[in-house]
């Protein structure tokens, strides 16, 4: 193997993302599992950005409208995400307050910012800090699903707290919007192809080689 070839793509091979088998680039389907082959995910950056923009749009109503309404003895109270976190904290329910704070504020915002930065760094052809960008990417990939905690807490409250006139909890429009945010940010992370980060270096090295 010539030393200039470092990646599968340079060796004219495509890795099957579903079974990890290397196939020649000219094959359209994986010889082992039948998956459609691409050297890089198609339109990865555009797809990631499209999902992220959808997530940002839905995150606004998710914060403005109530996630649920609590009716006790004819009185109805509405809770937004932030309002709920503050109220739970004031009621000394610290554990659930912190869990919801992370699931519904820290994780989604962090995820959107990180993925936007990763897409931007590819557009700007930034070559440094690859290791750090990979760590950020892996964190978003791993933490993404934990945002669903918020939706699940509402689901549990809604299905358990149906006590006629005494206590009744109903879902609000914001929890639907928030669920869309969770799904779209997960799809955004899946659409992103981390190999593009490393491709930047290859072009730089090739460039350096030609100059020598």
């Amino acid at each position: 193997m010539p030393p200039t070839i470092k990646t599968a793509a340079q060796a004219n091979l495509a890795l099957c993302l579903s079974c990890q088998k290397l196939n020649p680039v000219k094959w359209s389907k994986c010889s082992r599992c039948g998956e459609v082959l691409h050297t890089r995910k198609i339109n990865s950056v555009q797809k990631t950005l499209a999902w992220l923009i959808t997530a940002v749009i839905f995150y606004i109503p998710a914060n403005l409208y109530p996630v649920m309404s609590t009716s006790t003895l004819g009185r109805t109270a509405y809770n937004t995400i932030v309002g709920g976190v503050v109220e739970l904290w004031n009621q000394q329910a610290y554990f659930i307050s912190v869990v919801i704070f992370f699931a519904s504020i820290v994780i989604p915002i962090g995820k959107i910012l990180v993925l936007m930065w990763l897409c931007l760094s590819l557009k700007l052809r930034i070559k440094g800090r690859k290791q750090e960008r990979m760590v950020l990417y892996r964190i978003t990939l791993w933490f993404g699903r934990w945002s669903m905690i918020d939706v699940f807490v509402v689901a549990i409250l809604v299905s358990l707290m149906q006590l006629g006139g005494i206590l009744k909890i109903e879902p609000g429009i914001a929890i639907v919007a928030f669920a869309v945010v969770v799904v779209t940010t997960m799809l955004a992370a899946e659409a992103f192809d981390p190999r593009l980060i490393w491709d930047q270096e290859e072009s730089k090295e090739n460039h350096a080689n030609t100059h020598h």
């Binding site: 079974c19 879902p171 929890i175 190999r195």
Partner: protein
């Protein structure tokens, strides 16, 4: 030659395909991604945990997980009701989402694993559509949110107990064991190992057919 090579999923670095001993894992020298893991136990471990999971899944769905009692009024919920209640309250999107991540994904995943692994391990046979199902199992793996729901249930419990009388049902205990079993089953399921094992069984099957013809 191509058979001895592999590439990193996250940075596309060309590598020698790793051959591992028990409890070893191979990391990519360039980006640090875990290329392949060989856990202590074999795929039989995944199969036995999957079967245990299917039984526990039924218990969690048919027995109440939590029940609430306040001022003489009583209500209880089991696993599927977390999704079902949304349909009754006219939220089809939330119903579908929760149904998908809590009920459809995990049960499809478990049935698929048993369908593929049972004949492979005990009869050295590959069932029809195994490649297609196998491909799809690794895609939906992280859309099953069993562990996330457990944390959500425990977090809400800390609050609910101060509002009303909450009782923990058999369903909840079954669900906790279910979460642990599912995590163990999936932890032992490495992508590369699964597909290599499938190749091996396919070879066995082919050899057997050729022997029969002689």
């Amino acid at each position: 030659m191509i058979e001895h090579l592999s590439a990193c999923e996250q940075c596309d670095l060309l590598l020698e395909a790793p051959i591992l001993n028990h409890s070893e894992s191979a990391h990519c020298p360039r980006c640090g991604h875990i290329i392949c893991q060989r856990p202590k136990y074999s795929l039989q471990f995944t199969l036995s945990f999957s079967i245990a999971c299917i039984i526990l899944f039924f218990v969690a769905n048919f027995f109440p997980m939590l029940s609430v009692e306040k001022a003489g009024l009583y209500n209880e919920m089991s696993l599927y009701q977390a999704a079902w209640q949304f349909l009754e309250l006219g939220e089809p999107f939330l119903f579908f989402l929760i149904f998908f991540v809590l009920l459809l994904c995990p049960s499809a995943l478990l049935l698929a694993l048993v369908y593929m692994l049972l004949p492979m391990i005990f009869m050295r046979r590959v069932m029809p559509y195994t490649s297609a199902i196998g491909r799809w199992v690794f895609y939906i793996k992280h859309w099953s949110m069993i562990d996330v729901y457990l944390i959500a249930a425990l977090a809400s419990l800390t609050k609910l107990t101060s509002v009303a009388n909450i009782d923990l049902g058999i369903g909840l205990w079954a669900y906790i064991v279910f979460t642990v079993c599912l995590a163990s089953a999936l932890a032992n399921l490495d992508k590369i190992r699964f597909w290599r094992y499938l190749d091996k069984i396919k070879c066995h099957q082919l050899l057997r057919q050729q022997l029969k013809q002689i």
